[in-house]
Every structure is written in C-alpha cells, then in structure tokens.
C-alpha cells in the first residue's frame, strides 16, 4: 500500500513520519540464514498512535529496532522524517536518534547510578535542541509523569512503574517526532500498566506520534491502528 507506491515528494512532506519499504532482515546462525522479516511495508503518519502486535518471535521487536535505527536491515528502505536511514552517516544517525526518536524499553534501561532527573537529562548531553532549557524541561517532564517528588531518587529506589515513567520522560526530553515503545508495560502489573498507557494516551492526544509494541489486546481501545505481525509478514495490510 502506501509505502511502495506513494509519490516520494509527498512522502518527504511533513505528514509521513515512518515510511518503510520492502524491509527484510535475516540473521545468520552458523551457515544458515534465518529470515526474520520478509518484506515489510509500513507507513506511519504524523500524530498516529500505532500498536504493533504479534506472537513472540514474529519479528515485531526486530521491526522496532529497524525503525529506531538500532539495527541494520538486510535489504529494503527505512525513511524517517524524510531521511533515508541507510544512506546517512553514523553521526547523522546518532543525531536522528537523539533528536527525533524517543525510546521507551520494556526493561526501562535507566542508568542505575544516575538520579531520575539525571537519567531524563542524559540524552541532552549529546544532543540538545537550541533554545531548550533542558534542566527545566527535565523537571517539567518528570512533573508531567507524576514524579516531581522523586527527581533525586535513583532507579533502584523507584518502583517499576515509576522507572518506566522516568524512561518516558527521558524519551520526551528532546521533543522527538516519534516515540518508540517496545512493550513498555511488559514488566509491569496491570494497574501500573494502565497508568503508563494512560500517559501514552495523553501524549497522543497532545499530538505525539507513537509506535508501540504490545501483547495486550486491551491496547486496541487506545490506539488509532493495530498492525498485526506474524512470521515476519504484516497480516492485516
């Protein structure tokens, strides 16, 4: 559908955040080539909240890593905000990750020795937007996720839900065009999950583009669109 045939000049406009075209990925296991993704086409528009669902091993995390430029496709194209991620340099890629993508991981991936506030601020050490008052923004974001009284706590002093809130605040620090969340509630109980999903929902209402991997069928009520992946194919295209 959209990815393959869309006129590029339109795709490079502001409306298309993710444009994936015939994306393939395979891993080598010894001499055997194990294909994970068999030609994925996916397009996400600005402001969309997309859930990617599928059983374990279906390739959804691999797809997510490709979108986030954490991994390289075997073939195909990943265009983010009009930039072909396979054609740009490592430094441009780092900049793209720093400014345009906010990651939220299943296992939070906070740095244990840094406080909540420092964790949120960490991405700005490398990339910070001109005109941003990053320290103030970090505080505001922690307030937004309801942790204004936990700023100086280390991750080990926080509950799972609180840690994920810190991670969400961190993902927002540079006002990214896209938030990628890889099973953000996978390690949380259902009540906390609900709270976290509430935050994402709120972000979406405020215009954020979000792509989230999830197992949870409940999610369908929050998102605009669900993409089902099975065995490396998108099933409901």
């Amino acid at each position: 559908m959209v990815g393959k045939d869309l006129d590029r000049s339109v795709a490079e406009g502001n409306d298309i955040v993710i444009d994936i075209c015939d994306l393939r990925k395979s891993y080598r296991l010894g001499d055997i080539e194990v294909p994970i993704l068999h030609g994925i086409d996916l397009c996400v528009k600005k402001g969309e909240f997309v859930a990617i669902m599928g059983p374990s091993g279906s390739g959804k995390s691999t797809l997510m890593n490709m979108i986030g430029c954490l991994d390289r496709p075997t073939s195909g194209k990943v265009v983010l905000m009009g930039k072909d991620t396979l054609a740009i340099s490592d430094n441009e890629l780092a900049e793209l990750r720093g400014f345009e993508i906010g990651f939220v991981f299943q296992s939070f991936n906070l740095i244990p020795r840094l406080s909540a506030y420092e964790n949120v601020l960490l991405p700005t050490y490398s990339n910070s937007r001109k005109g941003h008052n990053s320290p103030q923004r970090a505080k505001d974001l922690l307030k937004l996720v309801g942790l204004d009284d936990r700023m100086d706590h280390r991750p080990t002093e926080l509950s799972g839900g609180q840690r994920q809130r810190v991670a969400i605040a961190r993902s927002l620090i540079n006002e990214p065009s896209l938030i990628l969340a890889d099973e953000p509630t996978g390690n949380l109980d259902s009540k906390t999950s609900e709270e976290i999903l509430g935050i994402f929902s709120e972000l979406h209402r405020n215009g954020c583009t979000i792509v989230m991997i999830t197992h949870d069928p409940e999610m369908e009520k929050y998102v605009d669109r669900v993409v089902h992946i099975k065995d490396g194919y998108i099933k409901n295209n």
Binding site: L96, I101, I111, S126, N174
Partner: protein, 404 residues
C-alpha cells in the same frame, strides 16, 4: 557534542557509583605502576651504590709501586706532578711494623704519605684530621685499626708506639700521637689493595728519616677526572720509563720496567660488569612487572567495559555518537589511570625506600625513569580502556543492548 564538564560529571559519577569495580581497576594500575617504579628505583639505587663503592676506594686514582728500592725520588714525584691531567700525587713508603698500644702489640701495615694522600685516596675522617706536611710524629689510623685491632679502642690524642726495622738492620721504636681516625669506606665489591681501614698513615718525611732512606716505594696519584685516568696513566708511564732509562723500544713492554702501574679503570671494569649485570637483571624484572601490570590493567578494563556494553548500547540509542562514548571512556580511564598511577608511584617509591634502608643502599629517585614507568602504565590503562570501549561503541546499539 559532550562538553568537558558534562563528560567529567558522567565519568566521575560512573567511577563513584561502582566503588568496588573502580577500586579494583585502580588497584590493578597501582600494582602495575608500583612494581615498575620500585624496580626502576631499586636499579638506580644499586647503580649509585656501585658508583659510591668505587668512589669510596679513591676517585680516579693511579697507583705506581716498585719492588726495587732507590728508583723513585723527588725528581720522579715532580715529574708526575707536572704531567698533564694529574690533580695530585703522594709518594708512598710501606712497611709491616709492630705497633704497641697500652699492653697490646700487633703487626700493622704502616704507610708513609704526604698531605695530598687525603684527597688522592678520597679519605674521609671519622674523627680528628688527616696529616699535613708540617706534621712530624703523628699517625692517622684506619677505622679497623683504631676500633678493633687492639684490646682497647684507640682515640685521637692517644699515644702509640711503632717499631721499625731500618735498612741497616737496626730497630727503632718511635712514639706517635694519633691525629685522626679514617672512616671505614665500607666497600664490599671494590677491592683495591689500598684499603685505608687496616692501615696506619704517618708523614713520609718522618718515616724516611726513621728508616734512614731518601727514596719512595711508589706513588698514589689522582687524575683530574675518570675520563683522564687512562691517558694520564699512559703519559706518566712514558715519562717515568724515560726518566729511569728504559729504552724506547721497551716503552710498550710492561715487563721491561722496574715498576708496576695500575689505575682504577681495571676496578671499574670489574664493578662495571657486575653493575651492568645487575642493571640488566633489574631492567628485565621491571619489564616483566610492566608487562604483568599492563596485563592486569588491561584485564580489569576489559571486564569493566564488557560489563557496561549494555550501557554503551543505551547511550547510542539515546543519540550519543561513537566519539561521545569514547570521550567518556577516555576521561574515565584517565582519571582512574592518574589516581592509580600516583598511588602506584607513591607505593613503588615507598617499597624501594624500605628495601634501600634494609639493604643499606643509597636512596636514588630517577625522576625520568619514574616518569616513563608512570606514563607507560597509565598509557596502557588508557589503551586497555579505550580499545574495548571503541569496540563496543562500534556495535549496532541493538547488539550492545542485548548483552547482559
């Protein structure tokens, strides 16, 4: 780009947060550096010890003696004194004589010398003073003679009696007042045959008068510098041989001369060989400890970085460039390396001091070599820290994130 302040903040935070790991890393460097510094310092101390040994024996000296009587006179002394490169010369006569102090008598080597001998033989006084040319019946004793030979210690101003055998067969006993006692130079390796500690020195004028002779048995000469010892010795040899009527064709033939000349170079060669062997040994030990230390440092840094691969992956995911990550690790390695290096130098020097005081070696601190050892060990720490960090920073973030 990371600012220096931010990098320092993150690096210091990282060091401070994992105290055990940082302590182990630092310990690895400390041990490596300390081993190198201790060895290098000990090597330098041993070298100095040998140099001192040789110096204590007498600096830059040339000795001439003859079995023949009446070939050396004041003429030869003047001739030697006027040879270029000679800083001082003392004539010597020698006789084993019976020395009596209180109720004990001992056979002791008596040497008649002039006041230059003091400087020529590098004499250091334990008490009192050395002879001057105006002295008559005074004696200067070696430390061993004064302190050990007799039942009672002999001190300055004590009288001793020396019984000489004259050339004509007569026996003369003369009373001498002790003017000074010579320090034991404590030489273990450099034996010259002219050790002052077992000898008694009296003015040569007095000795010749008592013995009824006017010739000298030999000369003790000091060259202006160690470098000049060889050429000055050769020149003296040539002049003496000529003045004693040795034919020109025999000038190169030592057997044709009625005297024997030897200089410190021979002793230097022996001790030099010993010292070189020891230096080689210590250098190889230092090299081995540098290698062992480096491997230790490298090991702990590799573990440290491997442990943090996941963190490196996260940083990349958050937009850190390879350069940013390397900067962080370089700064961290440098801080750990510097702390470890400084502690290591301190420990190494302290260890060397301890060994020095135990072995009674002089304390020498070869700043240059210490600096080289320090820089090398810290450099190894840096390379060992940066190499794996570089490897991790090159990985695709997903790969690094997957590491546990």
């Amino acid at each position: 780009m990371l600012s220096l302040k931010q990098s320092l903040g993150i690096s210091l935070g990282s060091i401070g947060s994992s105290k055990l790991r940082s302590a182990l890393t630092t310990l690895g460097i400390v041990i490596g550096v300390a081993a190198v510094i201790a060895n290098v310092t000990l090597g330098a101390s041993f070298n100095q010890y040998f140099t001192d040994e040789i110096g204590a024996v007498g600096s830059n000296f040339i000795v001439i003696y003859s079995q023949n009587t009446n070939i050396f006179y004041d003429n030869q002394l003047d001739l030697i004194r006027n040879t270029p490169g000679v800083a001082g010369a003392s004539p010597i006569n020698q006789q084993m004589a019976r020395v009596t102090y209180l109720s004990t008598s001992r056979q002791i080597d008596i040497q008649g010398v002039n006041e230059d001998y003091d400087e020529v033989a590098n004499i250091r006084m334990e008490s009192g003073e050395f002879l001057t040319d105006n002295d008559r019946y005074v004696a200067v004793l070696g430390a061993e003679v004064a302190n050990e030979k007799f039942d009672k210690k002999i001190s300055v101003k004590n009288p001793i009696e020396i019984t000489f055998r004259r050339e004509d067969g007569g026996v003369v006993t003369q009373k001498f007042i002790v003017k000074g006692v010579i320090q034991d130079p404590n030489t273990t390796f450099a034996q010259t045959g002219v050790e002052p500690e077992i000898r008694i020195f009296i003015p040569i004028e007095t000795m010749n008068e008592i013995l009824g002779i006017d010739y000298y048995g030999g000369f003790f000469i000091k060259a202006e510098s160690l470098e000049l010892v060889g050429t000055t010795g050769d020149e003296i040899d040539r002049r003496l041989a000529r003045s004693l009527g040795v034919p020109n064709r025999d000038l190169e033939n030592d057997d044709a001369k009625p005297y024997v000349l030897f200089d410190q170079l021979e002793i230097l060669e022996q001790t030099g060989q010993l010292s070189a062997a020891l230096t080689a040994l210590l250098t190889s030990v230092a090299l081995i400890s540098l290698i062992v230390g480096s491997i230790g440092i490298m090991n702990i840094m590799l573990v440290t970085v491997a442990e943090r691969t996941r963190e490196i992956g996260l940083m990349k995911a958050l937009g850190f460039t390879k350069k940013d990550i390397l900067t962080l690790f370089i700064i961290e390695s440098m801080i750990v390396g510097l702390i470890g290096g400084i502690l290591g130098v301190t420990l190494g020097v302290a260890a060397a001091l301890l060994v020095n005081s135990y072995l009674e070696l002089p304390n020498i601190f070869p700043a240059g070599q210490i600096a080289i050892g320090f820089v090398m060990a810290v450099g190894v720490g840096l390379v060992a820290g940066v190499y794996p960090a570089n490897k991790a920073a090159r990985m695709d973030p997903v790969e690094a994130l997957r590491k546990e």
